[in-house]
């Protein structure tokens, strides 16, 4: 995409692109107007809010009236006991989510591509994608039906088998696992669509040739399919790098809520900021943290992209 920007800049040297389009592509420009207006109002104007991160902001005084305090808000966040914990949790959970969902999505796609029965294939695909259409609020309730101590399905089954109960909602150590599992449950099937599409796009003759040469199915997956999926996987990986400092607020808010017992492993930057905002009304710091997330995410995308360009240039996004 940055390549695109460079190209656009290059075109300007010859003739002003906008002037050219005004002359020749009036209709197309007209079609862009509502969209550009939208991004200006709802994405670019709020960028002014970045200023708030450097202010002792109060809503009464507004952006123009609030005094500047330099990096005080950042210092307050980074100096607090919680900043390390919430940053670590955010990164740790996201790393778990990204790696596991990549592996499981690819595995589901591979299995679906091996299955020949059309009816079975469609049915299985429908069912594994279904949870993606359910909101985290609902998943929160589903999780309760399964995990709660007195009535939950798992504990009822354990008691039925004469085993001790597990207090899921009191044991923070279990939650990275539970969240990872639920994240897979919700998203891995949906994530497999892209990989399945890539697999379907591979020339069937390659597999045929491999089969004639005596390769087993596992071997052709290992030596043909997986290497060909690398480009897609790396592309998705780079894109997720940009969001690695942004936690899944909906998920954690729905599943953990205000259960302080679980905070040690589940409190992420986003829920922390939300609490600072709602309980303390600290507008300056929450803006500072949002900026901290964006900048770190931007750096991560660039690092990931640079590494990719060295290892396999065709997968890099810019």
């Amino acid at each position: 995409m940055a390549k695109a920007a460079v190209k656009a800049a290059g075109q300007k040297k010859h003739e002003n692109a906008l002037l050219y389009d005004l002359k020749h592509n009036k209709f197309l420009l007209l079609m862009l107007v509502p969209g550009i207006l939208f991004f200006v109002v709802f994405a670019y104007i709020p960028l002014i809010g970045i200023v708030i991160a450097f202010q002792d902001f109060s809503a009464a005084k507004g952006i123009l009236g609030s005094p500047f305090v330099g990096f005080e808000n950042f210092r307050f966040f980074l100096g607090s006991r919680d900043s390390f914990r919430v940053t670590f949790n955010t990164l740790f959970l996201n790393a778990l989510f990204i790696s596991t969902s990549m592996i499981v999505s690819i595995a589901i796609a591979l299995m679906l591509s091996e299955v020949n029965n059309k009816w079975f294939k469609k049915g299985a695909q429908s069912l594994v994608i279904l949870p993606h259409f359910i909101s985290w609020a609902v998943i929160g309730l589903l999780a309760e039906a399964i995990l709660s101590s007195d009535t939950g399905f798992i504990n009822r089954t354990l008691v039925g088998l004469g085993l001790p109960q597990i207090s899921f909602y009191k044991d923070a150590g279990l939650w990275p696992g539970i969240l990872t599992f639920l994240n897979l449950w919700q998203g891995a099937g949906f994530g497999s669509i892209v990989y399945l599409a890539a697999i379907t796009g591979i020339d069937q003759e390659i597999f045929e040739a491999a089969r004639i040469d005596g390769a087993s199915k596992l071997q052709s997956i290992r030596y043909i399919t997986l290497p060909l999926l690398r480009t897609t996987a790396v592309l998705l990986l780079i894109m997720s790098m940009g969001k690695i400092f942004n936690g899944n607020f909906s998920m954690v808010y729905a599943l953990v809520g205000s259960n302080t017992l679980l905070y040690p492993t589940t409190d992420i930057i986003d829920t922390y900021v939300y609490r600072q905002l709602m309980e303390l009304g600290d507008l300056g710091m929450s803006s500072a943290v949002a900026l901290y997330q964006s900048v770190l995410g931007f750096i991560m995308v660039n690092i990931a992209n640079r590494i990719t360009r060295k290892l396999s240039p065709e997968s890099a996004i810019f």
């Binding site: 994405a43 589901i108 259409f133 009535t151 009822r156 199915k217």
Partner: protein, 295 residues
């Protein structure tokens, strides 16, 4: 010969394993829904006594009667349907205009605009700035349009649809132009019909995000009759006043079927999605495939 049959057996085992694992995964995905469905059709005592079971020993529709009689589910449904219908239409219109224009190679500023959009995927002003903009300057607090206007275009969907438009050969539009058709005519009569799978896919994504909206209700809506279904669920989940509201409105404080009615609410909320889903599934798989492979 021996090696060949060994490979054959290996392949058979592998394929069978695929069938078994996929069946297990499918069951795993369906299981929580069945559990909740059965919990919603039983009475409170049975649920508390037996816990969540696949087949409850006692059948009851009491929870549903209560949900429809007492909760705000009616107004929440109306708000959510309005958002989903109007929002999806508006989003599709604006997004497809932008995506189409950006897919035309003769448009010189297209790469510049694409970067302008991509940039917003990386940097945002944060929650506070958005909150101030929406409440103080646009005055959208407690206005139903707050659900639609700020999420009119998703940059991700816009890019996806642009990739889809790019797969349509430009020669098609060119030849129509030579025949004397204007741009509007080309778009309506030639491009949009071809782009239908892409539009349906993006439309589904938008519909889903409008349907599942709760965050905006939490931030911007104080009026009870303007909240969305999902926020209602979130409130139930967080136990905010739900038991009290129910108890207060029917004048009893004991025997209130809280647990079963929560589950009934879940079923009432996700019902439409689950029913529509099989009909729409083929579109988004197709659309995502075409738009997504190119990245």
């Amino acid at each position: 010969m021996k090696a060949k049959s060994k490979i054959y057996i290996g392949n058979r085992i592998f394929t069978t394993a695929c069938y078994i694992i996929l069946t297990l995964l499918a069951v795993l995905c369906l299981f929580p829904f069945l559990l909740v469905l059965s919990a919603s059709f039983t009475d409170e005592y049975t649920l508390l006594w037996e816990g969540y079971k696949l087949i409850p020993s006692k059948f009851s529709t009491g929870a549903y009667q209560l949900v429809f009689k007492t909760s705000q589910i009616g107004s929440a449904y109306l708000v959510t349907i309005f958002n989903t219908a109007v929002g999806t239409m508006a989003s599709l219109l604006v997004t497809s205009m932008m995506s189409y224009a950006l897919s035309i190679r003769k448009l010189r500023i297209r790469n510049g605009v694409a970067f302008f959009v991509y940039f917003t995927m990386l940097f945002s002003g944060g929650m506070v700035a958005n909150y101030l903009l929406i409440t103080k300057y646009l005055h959208l607090k407690d206005n139903i349009l707050v659900y639609i206007l700020p999420s009119l275009i998703s940059p991700w969907n816009m890019m996806l649809l642009r990739n889809f438009f790019e797969t349509i050969p430009e020669s098609l539009a060119e030849s129509a132009k030579i025949d004397g058709a204007n741009d509007m005519h080309i778009l309506m009569k030639i491009i949009l019909p071809i782009a239908k799978p892409g539009l349906v896919t993006i439309g589904l994504y938008y519909a889903l995000s409008y349907w599942n909206e709760w965050y905006k209700a939490m931030l911007y809506i104080d009026k009870e009759n303007l909240i969305t279904l999902q926020y209602l669920i979130m409130k139930i989940l967080r136990n905010i006043n739900f038991a009290n509201t129910v108890a207060g409105s029917i004048g009893v404080s004991v025997n209130v079927p809280t647990y079963t009615s929560r589950m009934a609410t879940v079923i009432v909320t996700i019902g439409p999605i689950v029913f529509l889903y099989p009909f729409l599934q083929k579109y988004f798989v197709k659309g995502l495939t075409v738009g997504g492979v190119k990245g």
